[in-house]
Symmetry: C2
């Protein structure tokens, strides 16, 4: 885990055959990335694995040792292909069992709707021993947190609602501030000057993202830094570079 | 590598800080998943890593030993943050050098447009020694293939065009056929019956994907199999299950 310079790190483990077959286009990775960046946690790795216990266990154990936090999506429903709670339990070496609090809130909820709380539905109350609930305001069945791992649903509206409940409980680092500058030149025209600016501004991260539209390239330059003054200084240098290129009328 | 039962496996390594910060919402993973599924290659894992050489090398070496094919996206432009060619070279333990063929086609292309073929632009002609070109019909600078690794651009239109060039060269396995059945019941109502169908149809993979719309759940059931008859048999069982539930008027 990296804790120098007030940096808090995270990984995401997205679980599900449907993400790998193309049936479902993941929406949770981008949402988690947006939220973590906004609050000052650095998402440093994402993995997508199928609904296979061994693969989930292996990936989770690798990620949870390496990062401050791991967020998972998917596989916590009542059907036979929902194996995340079991896999997380195996990864931690603890039993997966029906949680008393989850049984109570889910039982009450089904009773109020006149729906039988079947064994299948009770599967959704199973979690690793010692896990803490993550409330599910959408459809009751909770996610859970064990040590630095947060296990949430794959349905985006539920993933997002669970994440909203988790966010206030997380320690955060110094936010990585970001500023974008649109550059009308392609990367080939700016690479040397931009590389020099990066070298002269070592406490910033300067990203160059080519866009290809209507047969020509332009570039979005993104400067990131944890210090506002250093960010502003590098952004000024980038803007000066663009102004200088415009004056020389280099090919765009 | 898994080659039993005519199965061909693949992984994707998406490279780029912008995917982890949320600035860019990846579009290449879903596209690759769709294409590979259609031609009979099983995408079994995806990783997203930042623009850091050590992280790229580690992930690539893990994936290329495990799967028949690895496809990468991102980091092959001319700017300082484009480090994929160097990282792949390090992973394979070969020098990263200007490729003569790439220098020629790029040099000719820039000359025809009256643009100087600067050292920055020449960076895009660098690849690991021994690599084979992947043609780039969009913007000339090639991707490359080394052993079972295919290195392509991050810009989706270029990634897709490069992939189109790669697809005909790949060995493929028996396609995993797929059929979807919409189910008006939530997972809690079908889990036991569906689990039984899965148990009775061991050569199929039955996925259950909850949808939550307008305050109620329904389910998309996806049956997959490499054998058409086995697929049809399991789909029939799923449809019979739904008809049976409709007859009993269980809560949906």
């Amino acid at each position: 885990m990296t804790n120098d310079n007030n940096i808090v790190t995270a990984a995401m483990l997205a679980i599900g055959d449907e993400l790998l077959s193309g049936r479902t286009k993941d929406k949770n990775i981008g949402h988690l990335a947006d939220i973590l960046t906004a609050i000052g946690i650095d998402l440093e790795e994402v993995r997508i694995v199928p609904d296979e216990q061994g693969r989930i266990v292996e990936a989770l154990n690798s990620l949870r040792q390496r990062y401050d936090y791991v967020f998972t999506s998917g596989g916590i429903g009542p059907t036979h292909d929902d194996i995340t709670a079991d896999a997380i339990s195996v990864a931690f070496g603890v039993p997966c069992e029906h949680d008393a609090k989850a049984m109570k809130i889910m039982g009450d909820n089904y009773a109020s709707r006149g729906i039988e709380f079947t064994e299948s539905r009770q599967r959704m109350a199973r979690m690793p021993r010692g896990a803490i609930h993550i409330d599910n305001p959408v459809s009751t069945a909770p996610g859970f947190n064990l040590e630095n791992v947060y296990v949430m649903a794959g349905v985006p509206s539920i993933f997002q609602a669970m994440l909203d409940n988790v966010i206030p409980t997380l320690k955060v680092g110094t936010q990585l501030l970001s500023q974008s500058v649109n550059c009308p030149f392609g990367e080939g025209s700016i690479a040397v000057a931009l590389g020099n600016i990066q070298a002269e501004n070592p406490d910033t991260i300067i990203g160059s993202y080519p866009k290809y539209e209507n047969g020509r390239f332009s570039t979005e330059l993104v400067v990131r830094a944890r210090d506002a003054a250093k960010l502003a200084s590098a952004v000024s240098a980038v803007k000066a570079m663009i102004a200088n290129l415009e004056a020389t009328q280099l090919p765009r």
